[in-house]
């Protein structure tokens, strides 16, 4: 620190703990990838792409430190335009792989712009919420924030990439929450979202667990209410009646309650149910299979649930010390699917054991802690919001991916940041973490 005081250079202000966490994760990820991808057919090509992306990402990380992050706030509108343009161009020019039109070819490299768009949305939203700071508690602000993200979300869903779109919601939620949005409003908005999403889950659960339930039993009622029709309408009327009864009861008991709640609650719930039913109807079969695999992993071992089981077996068989690099039978013999991409955490668990997997989890926790610290010490509200958004985003993605590998979350096709193989993901993630480092390094507003 003395050196920094004497000569106020950047190096003294950089959060070296944070940098160490990033480098540690990237190193562990590279080692795991070397092992996990060794049995694939394109090992050489994978290695080449990975190291090119790593070099590019680390340069971007360093480069981002070189200029003030506030430039992103100044250029907010162009950034938003870039994000929308990128996502639109993917749909027009993009290449299809595995049923997603998610890839852009750029100078010989394939590039997945949705990851970049997500970071850009964080930057744009941070600017918006910063400028609306005084009116952040108002409902229009909340809706406007969602409206900003909506076009990009819609374009991503059009690919269709359900999983990536899913990661937007906690990111936006985290930012709104940290910006100080009204909890009651957020509860309604996100309660609506959560309810709408839970409808397909509950319906799938009932379909799998109680396939032959009689029509008047609870699962039977759930199933009949999951279609547009009289039972659904009846359910909504019942909700309205319940709400009215609750209001009367509250009045009779002389409880002080906001009358708005008794109107809003049934409306929100009904709307959420309608949306949920719509989502449920439009779900693709592979998406439903993921729900099935989560709800009942043993129902279809050869199909969607296969991945979940093999991943859990891989992690569990690693034990305390792991089976050693290049020696995990689950990954090296091909039982573990997607072992160098989405399920790389399972490979780490198998080959490096509890210590390896625990180290990765520990480094992530350290990383989150440092991002939160950067947010706490940011010199302006914009930097604070950017860090909050990125913290929510990374934390959600990591928890979702690791949770999927250990069988606590449904299978979502999202990579593990900094560790999974995937060039564009690595570059974008290092770039966005560079912004976090930038916010922290410029916390005293001297540079």
């Amino acid at each position: 620190m003395s050196q920094a005081r004497a000569q106020p250079g950047l190096s003294g202000r950089v959060d070296w703990t944070f940098v160490a966490a990033v480098l540690g994760l990237v190193t562990l990820g590279t080692i795991a990838m070397l092992s996990a991808a060794s049995t694939t057919m394109f090992y050489q090509s994978i290695l080449r792409k990975h190291f090119i992306a790593l070099a590019l990402g680390l340069s971007l990380f360093t480069l981002t430190l070189a200029f003030n992050y506030q430039i992103f706030q100044d250029q907010s509108k162009p950034l938003y335009a870039v994000a929308v343009a990128l996502m639109a161009s993917v749909l027009v020019l993009g290449r299809s792989a595995r049923g997603h039109r998610a890839w852009l070819r750029l100078a010989g490299f394939s590039f997945q712009p949705a990851e970049l768009a997500r970071v850009l949305v964080v930057l744009v939203l941070a600017d918006f919420l910063d400028r609306r700071a005084r009116r952040v508690g108002e409902f229009p602000t909340l809706l406007a924030a969602l409206a900003i993200a909506a076009p990009i979300l819609a374009l991503i869903l059009k690919q269709p990439d359900f999983s990536t779109a899913l990661t937007f919601l906690p990111t936006i939620t985290g930012m709104l929450f940290c910006a100080g949005a009204d909890m009651f409003q957020m509860l309604f908005v996100f309660g609506y979202g959560a309810l709408a999403l839970s409808v397909p889950l509950v319906v799938t659960f009932c379909q799998v667990r109680f396939p032959y339930s009689p029509p008047m039993s609870l699962p039977g009622l759930v199933l009949s209410a999951s279609r547009f029709g009289w039972p659904l309408l009846a359910a909504m009327v019942l909700l309205a009646a319940l709400s009215a009864a609750a209001w009367l009861a509250a009045a009779w008991l002389r409880l002080s309650a906001r009358p708005l709640a008794f109107i809003a609650a049934p409306v929100i719930v009904s709307l959420a149910m309608l949306t949920g039913v719509a989502v449920n109807r439009s779900m693709k079969s592979y998406q439903r299979n993921r729900f099935v695999a989560f709800v009942a992993p043993r129902s279809d071992v050869q199909g969607a649930a296969y991945n979940v089981i093999q991943s859990r077996v891989a992690i569990g068989s690693g034990g305390l010390w792991g089976q050693g690099l290049f020696s995990g039978t689950q990954s090296q013999l091909g039982f573990l699917p997607e072992r160098h991409t989405d399920f790389i955490f399972a490979d780490i668990g198998e080959e490096m054991g509890f210590w390896g997997a625990g180290l990765v989890l520990g480094l992530y926790t350290l990383l989150f802690w440092r991002i939160v610290a950067a947010a706490r010490q940011a010199r302006d509200r914009y930097g604070y919001l950017v860090c909050c958004g990125l913290a929510s985003m990374f934390a959600f993605v990591v928890v979702l991916n690791v949770g999927m590998c250990v069988g606590l979350m449904p299978v979502a096709g999202i990579p593990l940041p900094l560790i999974s193989y995937g060039g564009s993901s690595l570059v974008v993630n290092l770039f966005s973490l560079g912004i976090v480092a930038n916010v922290y390094a410029r916390r005293y507003a001297l540079l």
């Binding site: 929450f177 992690i315 569990g316 068989s317 039978t329 039982f335 509890f354 929510s392």
Partner: protein, 612 residues
Amino acid sequence: MKPDSTRGRLSILWGVISAACVVLGLRLAQLQILDAAYYRDAAERNRSQIIYQTAPRGRFYDRHGEVLAENRGAFTLIFLPGKNRVRRDLEPLARELGRQLGQDPGDLLVTLEQAERDQSAARLAENLPPATAFRLWELKTIYPGIVLIEEARRYYPYGRFASHLLGYMGKMSPREWRNFKARGYRADQRIGKMGLEALFEDDLRGRDGGRRMEVDAQGRIKRELENIPWEAGSNVYLTLDAAVQRAADEGLRESVTGRGAAVAIDPRNGDILAMSSQPDFDPNALLSVDAKTGRPSAGIPEFNNAIAGTYPPGSTFKPIVGLAAFAKGASPDEEYFCPGYYQLGNRRFKCWVHKGHGRVGWFKGLEESCDVYFYNLGLKTGGAEIERYERMFGLGERTNISLRGEKSGHRFGPRQRGKEGKGWYDGDTLNLSIGQGELTVTPLQMAVVTAALANRGQVWRPHFTRRIVYADGRPDFVQHPELSARIDATPRAWDLVQRAMEIVVSSGTGKSARVPGLVVAGKTGTAQNAGGKDHAWFIVYAGRPGEPAKIAVAVLVANGGHGGVSAAPVARRMILARFGLADAQDARAPRPAAPGARPAPPPEILPAGAIR
């Protein structure tokens, strides 16, 4: 600057994130520390497939050490399931294998899919000829999951030889599978289905070996993890004399009808020297599977005439009648006149020589098998007394030889009739005196009777085991002779019966069994058969002069007519084989080498390890 409330919210965000990380960490500890053993097992099951290799089954030896059943190496085609393979992936393989093996691809596909579902190895074809095996070897590189192993298969060096006694190996029926599952059998194993193979199943089977292979998700073999050596089964040494058995099998096969049974017993201890039933089968043929149908290529005559065929003994019963009469004090010199029939009331009982034998005493009576003489002798002795001797000789009861399907025959006499609630008449006594009526016996029972006639009254429980040498080092099982009864008769009665039986062979109806230099004593029989031609019987025992008899034989040729013509030559071949004599050879000449030199030893089973 930020308002304070947002700082609080950041702390909440951090709290949520760190809580999630803690939950994940705990879950990780649960999987990797608490449940690690379970998942390690699961991973181990995933990557390893056991290919079982049938252990060499215990061998059967005859009394001179000749191998009667052994093992040979054979190729077996195994399919190892992969992960996540569906019907579409298996169809080309099923087509190709169907072409190579001549089996229906549809059936093969069903087997392959079953293996995929169960995640366990399946046997597609066994006992493959080497040419097919080498062609299939090449498929291994194209289709993952195809493995050829070599294992031990049962082999019977003599083919059609004591087939009903030795039995054969076969696949389990669904009912047998339910029983054997609990005893550690696998569904695709073969078991002893009959005779000694079934009886000694537990001793013979040994413990199968296996090779634990590491396979990848496609079912491709990566390497061998472990080679579990097999343990061969225990060898069983039989009392059988291969030469006598061969003589019985061939003799019966070449007899008039080619159907019947022959049993030879050592009268000194009850050893079964031969047990033949015709028609027989080749147990080797049941092991090779028909390429077209996938089923054994031969149907088999399961019926064992020697223990399950019951026939009236006919005249071979007459020595027992004589023994009963003399034991009661009858005189052999008393003569009866035979006009060719016996008149009882208004019924006429014929003698088999219609013109009559004239005046007949004991020796002439047995020598020429005069029915009228025995009618008189029987009436004089009484049905009850004859029945007592039936019982002592073990007729009407199983010998308890412990082979499946043994019949007891039917005792005939006043007491038996009384049990059945019916009366006994003199006409019945007449029928009984010549071994007809309701009396039925098995060839095995008659061999035991013959042995008792030869050794003067010791009724042995017949047995076929000498020794079982256990593979696991337990002390050998040694079979001791078991006496089931002793016939009570005077030495004079024995002398009379034995002398008369010698005369039967030397100059009477049994002349075709005569062997110069041996004391041969026998009795022919022609059992009346309501449904067709008479059955031919011959019982005989033989020994060197001055020595106890070494062989007692009972031969039955179904529908063979007269016993002296069709059954006695079979018995003679067996006697010759027992004494190591060639046909027409004098027993006084020096003894030649045993006929049927031992076959060259079969190639040893290659040790497991041929898969690369």
